[in-house]
């Protein structure tokens, strides 16, 4: 057997990293479909790290929930649109991936652009459809040999009612949206303020957020997507 067919430790390491990339694709896909089905409880249990310290979830202009219990409370217990909500349809696709697995194979980072739509019921009115585009910045870690979400940050690009373009809705905020920076009534307060969010506005100059990950060796060499971004 020549050198090009020999199974070396380097080959196995490289292969493992590429398997890891594919596992991450599947994991974030799974997360998206569970979220769409309103199965946020299954999403947390099946896709998120359950034992690791420092689990965090940052949602758009709301801020950051830190720790499994706080995330569960916000995202499952107080989910304003749980599974079984008639007229609910939420689909956040995952496209344009940039994924890096750490050299030590223990963590990974990925970003995605997410064209999506959201239709949700309104009080005393029929459900309203919206286009909802955003981005994801996600850190992952391996827990018991499986990849899990560690920090997940959802960034708003725009959310706009179907019959209003995002330029107009950035100026004339729809009445049924929560006040900017406020969670939906009934949801728990966040643990930390927004680290970064840049929805469309007339004066917004688009920046490189979340930054696509660069190759890295160990977690100590990088920062998380729910940490305040480094100054440019």
């Amino acid at each position: 057997m020549d050198d090009h067919d020999t199974v070396t430790p380097d080959l196995e390491r490289e292969l493992q990293r590429l398997e890891d990339v594919q596992a991450i694709h599947n994991l974030v896909g799974r997360r998206a479909y569970l979220h769409s089905a309103g199965l946020n409880d299954r999403e947390l249990l099946e896709c998120w790290a359950t034992d690791a310290p420092g689990v965090s979830f940052e949602a758009e202009d709301w801020g950051v929930w830190d720790g499994w219990d706080h995330i569960w409370n916000a995202y499952v217990e107080k989910n304003p649109f749980p599974a079984g909500t008639p007229g609910l349809l939420i689909e956040h696709t995952l496209t344009t991936p940039v994924i890096e697995v750490a050299g030590d194979g223990l963590t990974a980072k990925g970003v995605w652009i997410s064209p999506g739509h959201e239709t949700f019921p309104l009080p005393d009115a029929l459900p309203a459809a919206h286009w909802s585009w955003g981005r994801y910045g996600v850190d992952f870690l391996k827990e018991d040999g499986d990849w899990r979400i560690w920090h997940l940050h959802v960034y708003t690009t725009f959310r706009t009612p179907y019959d209003q373009d995002w330029v107009d809705s950035s100026v004339n905020r729809p009445a049924h949206f929560p006040k900017e920076g406020e969670v939906v009534p009934g949801m728990p307060v966040v643990d930390r303020p927004v680290t970064f969010n840049q929805p469309y506005t007339l004066d917004a100059v688009r920046v490189l957020q979340p930054p696509p990950p660069e190759p890295y060796g160990t977690w100590q060499e990088t920062t998380g997507y729910t940490d305040p971004p480094k100054e440019a």
Partner: protein, 240 residues
Amino acid sequence: MSDNAELTTEQKLQKVLDIHEVQNVMSRHAYYHGLGKNAEELEAIWVKETPEPTFAQNQGYFVGYESINYYYGELCRKMQRANLDLLRKNYPELDESDDNLGVGTLIMHPLTTSIIEIADDGKTAKGMWYSPGQVTEIMPPDHKPIAHWIWEKYGVDFIRENGLWKIWHMHVYTDFFTPVGESWADLTADAPMGVGGPPVEMPRPDIEEETYKVYSHTQLPQDLPRMPEPYRTFSETFSY
């Protein structure tokens, strides 16, 4: 249930390669279908020998080569001819020629949000995708092109035939099909999809079954299609 740890390095290497090749096959479906080249697509990337291929949509299953070739292949051509005739009512300068089949039509079903699993035995695969698409087709009553947004999900089984990955079972789950400028939230449960209807008579599915429901105010979020899970061999998993 798959146990990746039991696989050899060779098998693992092949699996990761296969994931890429399955994505390529699925993407080719999108490019063929987008141009109305359904017959060419069937020839190039669908099974030819494996029993019981299926093509399914919300309203049921077309089963077997003859049925799929007709519904997905021949009917596409018939619709293109019928659409050309309709469009020529408004644009008589268009020749009634095969070169003009597909005129005024634009179909794009992008593929995103993949979950792909290759069986441990390397013989079959399963994939799921979101497809945020658009369909622009000639529609009655005005016989002009109407642009629509169409959001769907795909659940697809693949199988190796003569060493190549082929589509075996394709199931399309449509969430909404709505003219651009109109909201799918205005749809009721019994509203027909899109504007008008197809210009040719459509056969009924071989197995009529409501496999999925389009959006309506009363529709609950649907946990479908089933997500692929790691598996060892096809007999241990479900079929789309």
